[in-house]
Amino acid sequence: MKTILTLVAAITLIFSFGIAGAAETLNGAGASFPYPVYSAWGYEYNKATGIRLNYQSIGSGGGVRQIINRTVDFGASDAPLKPEKLEKENLMQFPAVIGGVVPVVNLPGIEPGAIKLTSNALCKVLLGDITYWDNKIIKKLNPDVPLKHKKITVVRRSDGSGTTAIFTTYLSQVCPEWKEKVGAGKAVKWPVGIGGKGNEGVANYVQKVKNSIGYVEFAYAKQNKLSYLRLENAAGNFVKPSFESFQDAAASGDFDPSKHFYLWLTNAPGKNAWPISGATFILLAKEKKESNPKVVKFFDWAFKNGDDTAKRLVYVPLPEPLKNKVRKYWKSQGIY
């Protein structure tokens, strides 16, 4: 009996500290929007330094919740928190990378990018006012596309999501009816559609459900060969989601460190700007003095070495001046 007890105590003790012991782990959670790039960066960082970045893609809402509850070392959210909220929760915030949200469809036999929509038409589809693919509004915009009389299934997020926040912020900007009926946020009351968990879940459902339309970060569309739409931007041009059109949107952004970089990039004015772009943000708890410098070190490493990886996944790395602004911000917070 006694030997068993000692054995149990010993095992418990060992596992509390970890046998592998040495490996340091940074725990982060939040947005699924940048998950492909964070996990790729983390993988390379681990190879370079041995430090592990455990990033769990649970949704931006989750990132905010878990950093407020201090259950992770850093949170990630595509929806920037307002400066007041940051002060209240004693948090810091900085952007990490820029990307685009793209509407994707599952229409057998139709080429990616073949269909164009105006912001108004997109809004009507999501409000449930346009219910069939051969609706005359869509037909008029796409006279050459063989659209069938099939019912549209909207696929959207079921979890608290920054992708949703970027998407609904855009819709609220361009569509008064959306603003009035639904509004913008990480989770909204959707008029129609089925909910998938994370960008992963939406991509999965769009793949499985024919005649569906959903919205995902572009990397998910690209990795899974989902068919995207062209959209009309603020300058009145129909643009394709691409590195260039995201970059064009990013160019218009003026991030202000004194506001903790709070900024939306949706409906950007650039001539070729993709209208649903956004930065994704990292949230740190001010009192986590021990882990914060380590998190910052990781992102500093990513700023220096991660641009190619980001581009490969069609994210836009922060422009050099913005990176320096972020570094200055870190310094001012005493974590760099």
Partner: protein, 281 residues
């Protein structure tokens, strides 16, 4: 004679329907197990057991971290759950035998066995994750232990009750104190039954996902530190199956195969022990 015939026909139809029902049930078993087997075996590879996850798009990822994590979470849940369950069952069957307290606790345990496991996850999140400040393997084990305890407790109680009272009286007559009688005589007599209960309770919790979502969370790296978030097969299956990548789907099938085989083996082992010890039932 028409009445007689009608009765016969009625009987025939009803019995045919029952047979069809049984075939229907077996059909699903074959269908589901068949799919898991075919898709799972196809996706099995050494990399699955030897490698840790890699970012989507990079080849050669595995679920080593999740296999180890699952074993650890289940092991520690067993370490907490089994002693509490066995001791609790002992109290009900021995010290409190036949009393009202025993009956109430026994009924409550039966109810607890079927309580939604996701609720237990939220409970542990509130008491072990939020106050501590991070997700942890311990929280996952605690959640599973709570599910385990009532199962072990009830089977222990039942198995101890099956041990004939005369056996205890014989030991008392030799002057042994009750605790010694329990440990040396009663436990020995019921050992096979208790072991079965333990095996079945492990089978029960090994496939649980819902209580782990908010407790042990997930970890994309190999970790044996129970103070950290830790990967588990079931949560990985949920993440991977809901994800869009084909490589994830394949790994989810392979993981499902492994976990199903593990649980079915435990269940069959439990039945074999019962049969060997207590004869045909």
């Amino acid at each position: 004679m028409t009445r007689e015939r009608k009765r016969k026909i009625e009987s025939f139809i009803a019995l045919s329907l029952s047979t069809l029902a049984a075939l229907f049930g077996l059909f699903w078993l074959v269908f589901i197990l068949g799919d898991v087997l075919i898709e799972g075996i196809e996706a099995l590879s050494p990399a699955l057991f030897l490698n840790d996850p890699v970012p989507p798009g990079v080849a050669g990822g595995g679920l080593r971290n999740a296999f180890v994590g699952q074993l650890m979470i289940t092991f520690f849940a067993t370490l907490i759950g089994v002693p509490v369950g066995v001791l609790g069952g002992t109290f009900l069957a021995e010290y409190a035998r036949g009393s009202k307290v025993a009956r109430v606790i026994s009924v409550l345990s039966d109810i607890m066995v079927s309580v939604p496991s996701i609720v237990i996850g939220t409970f542990i999140y509130a008491i072990l994750v939020k106050p501590v400040g991070h997700f942890s393997g311990w929280a996952g084990s605690a959640a599973l232990a709570i599910i385990m305890i009532p199962v072990v407790l009830r089977t222990t109680e039942d198995m101890l009750s099956l041990v004939p009272w005369t056996l205890r009286e014989a030991a008392f007559a030799l002057g042994a104190p009750y605790y010694k009688v329990i440990i040396q005589v009663v436990y020995r007599g019921a050992a096979a039954g208790i072991l079965t209960g333990i095996l079945l309770s492990i089978a029960r919790v090994a496939g649980e996902t819902a209580p782990l979502l908010f407790t042990s969370f997930n970890n994309s790296y190999f970790s044996t530190n129970m103070n950290e978030p830790i990967a588990s097969l079931t949560v990985s299956i949920f993440q991977y199956a809901m994800g869009p990548y084909d490589s994830w789907h394949a790994q989810a099938w392979a993981a499902s195969l492994m976990i199903t085989v593990f649980i079915l083996m435990l269940t069959i082992l439990g039945r074999v022990i019962i049969r060997w010890r207590y004869g045909k039932r």
